[in-house]
């Protein structure tokens, strides 16, 4: 009788431990998924903002049609990109064209006087920051989750219930390369 009670006790303790680990794994996994969807929210915001900005600055920057067209093209390309790798490259290209647009805008003092332009530029700058912060937060969450899945005894429970490690959001190769400056 006593032996039976002890066995039941041990089983119960193990059961609670498994349930505890399982629940925290689920919680962490949802956090990672939520972090990923946050990135998409910010990307979507950027797609919405770009045409507005281009529309407003177009009148002032008639000599810069090429830059503006490049921005719009990059934006459309990024929106239609398929697969993680292509998406990352497209987003990267879009960031590049936006940077050059902001640089060119510096040459037009009258743009600084336009409240609408300033507002849109501030919005876009902030959205760019939010994109990189949300990627950073995603990677932090992934690291926490992966560590949890890998460590003992969580790894046994993760194995039984088929919890897989997430991939980090990698910086595209093009971004890692040094910028070549041509000074002639």
């Amino acid at each position: 009788m006593a032996a039976l009670l002890i066995i039941i006790g041990i089983v119960l303790v193990f059961g609670f431990a498994v349930v505890g680990v399982y629940n925290s794994l689920v919680k962490e996994k949802n956090r990672v998924k939520n972090a990923w969807s946050q990135i998409d929210v910010q990307l979507k915001r950027r797609y919405d903002l770009i045409p507005n900005l281009v529309e407003v600055v177009r009148d002032y920057m008639s000599y810069e049609q090429e830059t503006l067209t490049k921005v719009i093209e990059a934006r459309n390309f990024a929106m239609g990109a398929k697969g993680v790798k292509q998406q990352a490259e497209a987003e990267n290209m879009l960031s590049g064209t936006l940077k050059s647009l902001f640089a060119v805008m510096e040459n037009y003092p009258q743009l600084k006087a336009n409240e609408n332009v300033m507002k849109l530029q501030e919005e876009l700058t902030s959205t760019e920051n939010k994109i990189s912060y949300s990627r950073q937060f995603y990677n932090d969450s992934v690291m926490q989750f992966n560590t949890m899945v890998e460590t003992f005894p969580n790894n046994i429970i993760a194995g039984i219930f088929n919890f897989k490690q997430f991939d980090f959001f990698a910086i595209p190769e093009t971004e890692k390369q040094n910028v070549k400056v041509d000074l002639r």
């Binding site: 956090r31 972090a35 946050q38 910010q42 507002k119 501030e122 919005e123 902030s126 920051n129 939010k130 912060y133 949300s134 950073q136 937060f137 932090d140 969450s141």
Partner: protein, 334 residues
Amino acid sequence: MAAKVCPRCGFYNSTFRKTCSLCSTPLDGEFSKEVAFKTSFYKVQSENNANSFFLVLFLFAFLIGLGFLFGRIFEIGYFGPIAALAISVVTTLIAYGGGKAIVMSISGAKRVTEREEPEFVHIVQEMSIASGVPMPETYIIETDAMNAFATGRDPKDGAVAITRGLLNKLTRDEISGVMAHEMAHIKHLDIRFSMLVGVLVGTIVMISDWMMRYMFYGRRSSRDRKNGGGAVLLIVAIALAIISPILAKLIQMAVSRKRELMADARAAEFTRNPEGLASALEKIGASSIKLDTATRATAHMFISNPFKDFSKKSSALFSTHPPIESRIRLLRSM
């Protein structure tokens, strides 16, 4: 991350220094101290929860004790402690439920939206994303003084405030650093403890003030002057003498150097840019404008001492904040 803490002024020196770089006191190894930079925030949170609990417990014990004393002196029996219990329950509830609103209105902070202050609100949004803390309410204090603080009951109830002076004089990166520091206080639950300290300590001070006034003016004209008005006064004076250092200690606990340094480290983790906060602190330290709306009960919440009344060398001994130079040095060494 280790630092040698100066025994005289409390400055955090790098470990290879033989003398303190602020006051030239010789340093020996004994004061070496591990700065808890990578402590898990769960641990910090539970520490803060325990502190909040003991603070409330202490307040109850103190007020009820005072109630007994008064019941005795004025021969009103158990009405004293019962009234004290009621007062402490009500204050705790008000502090917990409405502390944020009280702190904000004492500080003269005005709530702002994205439409009015796009840059500031955007920066707070960015830091909310970077830290994973829900978006706090945003407030501005219209003054030239340079300071900022965070308050609230928990991360869902969080609020950050910044002075106009700070907003005008800092670059975007620097404001991001300051806001990341405030987000760290929210994430660590430092805000709950410091809010309770602010409101509850403020209440105790207010009640003691009332009692003092009652002693001086109220009783003088009424019936029994012979019934030892002087003795009562003496008892109250003694009680206040005992309580004052404890209150001061509590406020210091709320802003222990460790707390600020950990928030600095967490801020660097959020922005991945320690230099932003470091140069913001440099500018804040260089400004000598006092923040008029700060009170003794709220001073500990700010990112740097709002009174600016401590000289460099004595600051570490008396101040509620770690010396700003130490913080800059540690941030730059990351």
